[in-house]
Symmetry: C2
Subunit: 164 residues, 2 copies
């Protein structure tokens, strides 16, 4: 039986992390959206004030997946964790790597007294939704995500504010 | 004309911040969900490694609202900001405080080279949705939020993992 192992990512994993980010983006039908570089990932994740943390999932010593997450904050419940990416290479599916990664993130959330572990899922990604539901995760049915980016963000940041 | 001013929150604002959190939770029809304490907010926001940042909106020198936010990370675009709470007391609406708060968060996002400013909105909160749309914010139509909490989180964190 293949041996699944979960370990913390180190700086030398950055090329692998970017490969997995690209693999997930392709699965999510948005490969062109990945503009992040290895240099940026290294700086953002492995400097003095990391913006994210990452776990690597291995099968028989070979890296095949990752969970990338960071702290968030609930003004109702306090410290929480957001899981940004959970991905296992297609060739290594069905061995429990994804669940082992998520379990480790859940354990970290508990260690840090986090009330919530949450993430976003594509509404058409039924295999993922079924998997998450099987673990007891729930949709936040009433909530929707909004985003300000590009020109609209710049305009708001730099424009004159009128009352109303 | 009333003078609107935005300033960074300080530790002495914690009672006000909790009052505004409760005001927003009541508006969101979930006042019983707020279990956070002043002590926790103080520790989490004003220690060595703050889990959130907060801006206070004032009208004629009186605090009437806040924007509470923290850094998040996009594996596609890099550093970003999540706006957790934006709230203005009902008595101070219509003076542009909410927009001034959001503008300041947007300016901070730009200063920090963030690609995205995002937040969650209740699907029935049409006045907020209209306001956000007027600023150029867009819904992430395909994405839904999932959460693991309470017993399900503990079970995943501490249980035995089976493959598959």
């Amino acid at each position: 039986m293949p041996i699944v192992n979960i370990r913390a990512a180190v700086a030398a994993d950055v090329p692998l992390i970017l490969q997995l980010i690209r693999g997930l983006a392709a699965y999510e039908r948005a490969p062109q959206e990945v503009i992040i570089s290895e240099e940026q990932l290294l700086q953002d994740g492995f400097g003095d004030r990391p913006l994210y943390e990452c776990l690597i999932g291995e099968v028989d010593g070979q890296p095949v997946g990752m969970a990338l997450f960071f702290p968030i904050y609930s003004t109702w419940k306090g410290a929480s964790i957001h899981l940004e990416d959970l991905f296992v290479m297609p060739s290594a599916r069905g061995l429990g790597v994804g669940k082992a990664l998520l379990k480790q993130v859940a354990a970290i959330a508990r260690e840090r007294s986090c009330a919530r572990l949450q993430w976003d899922v594509l509404d058409w990604n039924q295999p993922a939704i079924d998997f998450y539901h099987s673990l007891g995760a729930k949709f936040l049915d009433e909530w929707r995500i909004m985003r300000l980016t590009g020109e609209a963000l710049t305009t708001l940041a730099t424009g004159v504010v009128h009352a109303g």
